[in-house]
């Protein structure tokens, strides 16, 4: 921290050569503009290229609404499940020593290291029509692949690490003394979790949930493999964008894409807010 400030100070000194500063700053702005701002602008410009009315019309399409609903449904199922799983896994890893603890930590990271397409194919292999359990589920009138359950499963898999990854280092750093103190004062496990653990991890947890939600709504690869792309039934927003685009319906494709872009921006704003709150509570604690 200190060395960094020192280095910057030196660039700030009168008489110091100014050009490295301008070149580096310019380069950073150029790259951000070219790779981040320009595409975002392109999405919005294309979406509104034929005017506001057509934009609204593109979104107000029956299939688009079905895609929005499905995406919200998937997120509504996946995010709570992975929140509970994330807290439980982080708790196990941060609070207990057991054989296989290292393996569990690595396994949680697995979805990050596997290509989403492969993740989707795994589910096809297990639950597909020719898969291990697929025909049995289909016979029960509950098909998994090319149906909503498959989409939820694939999204669950891909978003497993977010909450747990966020909480494990946080809980390890905080230690268990306050929790022990609560128990020693007569609190039950649930009271301890509600009154001590949860308030201490809430910002980290929220951060993990936001990231998990963003990924759950935006996931393309794994979902694409298991979905079957049935309009109005198994089409999520990202898949819908692709279908519209492939049909040369560019305005509609970009209009729907702008919804996802809006979600991304909203996520970033929320994320910064949470980070800011986190920093503030940390500052208060170390005052």
């Amino acid at each position: 921290m200190h060395t960094q400030t020192l280095a910057l100070d030196r660039l700030d000194q009168p008489g110091a050569r100014q050009w490295p500063r301008y070149v580096l700053t310019g380069l950073a702005i150029f790259i951000i503009g070219l790779f981040l701002l320009l595409p975002l602008a392109a999405v919005l410009i294309e979406a509104f290229s034929e005017g506001w009315d057509l934009y609204v019309q593109a979104i107000n399409d029956r299939y688009t609404w079905e895609a929005i609903k499905l995406t919200l449904l998937v997120a509504a199922v996946v995010v709570p499940l992975n929140t509970v799983f994330g807290i439980a896994a982080a708790w196990m890893i941060a609070r207990f020593q057991f054989t296989g603890r290292g393996a569990l930590t690595t396994l949680i990271d697995l979805p990050f290291s596997i290509s989403p397409v492969i993740a989707g194919l795994i589910f096809v292999l297990v639950f597909g029509a020719h898969g291990w359990f697929g025909s049995w589920f289909a016979e029960q009138g509950f098909p998994i692949i090319f149906a909503v359950p498959g989409i939820i499963l694939a999204t669950l898999f891909v978003t497993v690490p977010f909450v747990a990854r966020e909480l494990i280092p946080l809980m390890q750093e905080q230690g268990s003394e306050e929790e022990e103190a609560a128990i020693a004062l007569g609190a039950g496990s649930w009271t301890m979790f509600r009154k001590i653990t949860l308030p201490k991890i809430k910002w980290g947890l929220l951060y993990g949930i936001i990231l998990c939600n963003a990924r759950a709504m935006g996931e393309f690869g794994a979902v694409s493999v298991v979905s079957g792309h049935i309009r109005g039934q198994t089409n999520t927003l990202p898949l819908h964008v692709e279908i519209l685009y492939n049909e040369y319906n560019f305005t509609a494709a970009f209009a729907v894409a702008s919804l996802l872009a809006g979600l991304a921006i909203l996520t970033l704003v929320l994320k910064s807010l949470v980070e800011w709150q986190q920093a503030r509570s940390l500052e208060r604690a170390t005052q």
Binding site: E177, E178, E180, A181, A182, I183, A184, L185, G186, A187, G188, T191, K195, I196, P199, K200, R284, A285, T286, Q287
Partner: protein, 368 residues
């Protein structure tokens, strides 16, 4: 409200933290568990509290076997080393926590809780800080809040893990006296863990000295200091000079260098028996000249420490494994002034009190 520990053993993987430990604490006592880090003292405290469970052995509280019981059912108040205050709650809410989590039919009314918390905060002289958060308090204040919080549930036993470990020297001294007074007032049977022998001597009515998962000695501060049961206790409690040698006539021979002392009652012990003499710095006398046959030393270093003078003296005409490189001597100010010593001077060394140990085993302690 007595505490009894019977033959407790506890291992963490291969490491034996406690090895067949037994201990009795009587009603109203204030006992210190003293030892170097890793000696098992905190583990023992946590077992008594019910924060850890024993591998073998039993814990009895007030005549009841509580070995398998949850900490909630043991009636203990526990003060953690780093206070473990709830950072997101005010001082008031921290102290009230134990009352608020009681079952509905046992829980006092809001008015009663408020009254009780303010009483406790008055007791630790911190009522004016009740609306602050722990992060806004000093170390000593946090410690007192932690104590008030532990006392809120009216524990029958108070267990404190290194209560002053993380505090400045000055605050520590003040809090020690304060804890002592508080204990006299409340009379709760208490055990505290410390690695600081001075702290144990000052606060505790009895000291339990531990090393490597075993209890080395239990006794009053005076007893463990004056009559250490083992070489470990002797060197852990206070400073000590160690002389290894063999008995030779009326002397201890450290290999070409004689200290004219012999263990009391060792008349029938033959020559050449190996012994170790443990002598505290203040148990030496220095003489400028003598008729007796005393070992010669040279003054190497003089440090005035206020009421005492600390001297380092070096044995003359000697280089043997059994001798310390320098011998630490402490003289009362008056004696030092009377001697009027300066660095480089020759002095004669006389031991006035020695702890004797034979081959690591306790022998006899006494003058000469």
């Amino acid at each position: 409200m007595s505490i009894e520990v019977r033959n407790i053993t506890k291992a963490f993987d291969d490491f034996k933290a406690l090895d067949n430990v037994s201990l009795n604490v009587d009603d109203g006592e204030l006992v210190a568990l003293l030892g170097p880090s890793g000696c098992g003292k905190t583990t023992l405290l946590r077992m008594i509290a019910g924060l850890d469970f024993v591998d073998e052995g039993e814990v009895w509280l007030n005549g009841e076997n509580v070995t398998g019981k949850h900490i909630k059912q043991r009636g203990v108040g526990f003060v953690f080393q780093h206070y473990a205050l709830f950072g997101h709650m005010t001082v008031f809410e921290n102290v009230a926590f134990g009352l608020r989590v009681l079952k509905r039919n046992e829980r006092p009314s809001e008015d009663q809780i408020r009254k009780r918390v303010h009483e406790l905060l008055d007791l630790v002289q911190l009522d004016w800080l009740s609306k602050r958060f722990p992060a806004q308090l000093s170390g000593g204040q946090r410690q007192r809040v932690a104590l008030a919080r532990a006392l809120a549930v009216e524990p029958k036993f108070l267990l404190l893990d290194e209560p002053f470990g993380a505090l400045d020297a000055n605050v520590r001294k003040e809090l020690r006296r304060w804890l002592r007074r508080l204990h006299d007032e409340l009379h709760v049977t208490s055990i505290f863990v410390t690695h600081d022998q001075e702290e144990a001597m000052e606060v505790a009515s009895r000291i339990v000295v531990m090393d490597k998962g075993r209890i080395e000695q239990v006794g009053t501060p005076e007893a463990v200091y004056d009559r250490p049961a083992s070489p470990f206790v002797s060197s852990f409690i206070g400073n000590v000079n160690v002389f290894h040698g063999r008995l030779q006539g009326g002397s201890l021979d450290t290999g070409g260098w004689q200290l004219p002392i012999r263990p009391p009652g060792s008349d029938d012990v033959g020559d050449d028996t190996p012994y170790a003499a443990y002598i505290r710095p203040h148990d030496f006398e220095l003489l400028k000249s003598t008729e007796e046959k005393l070992p010669e030393c040279r003054v190497k270093f003089i440090q005035p420490m206020g009421s005492v003078y600390r001297l380092e003296v070096v044995p003359e005409h000697a280089a043997s494994d059994g001798l310390p490189e320098v011998i630490d001597v402490e003289l009362p100010r008056r004696d030092f002034r009377a001697l009027n010593l300066s660095v480089g001077e020759r002095v004669y060394l006389r031991a006035t009190e020695t702890h004797w140990f034979e081959a690591g085993q306790p022998a006899v302690t006494g003058p000469r």
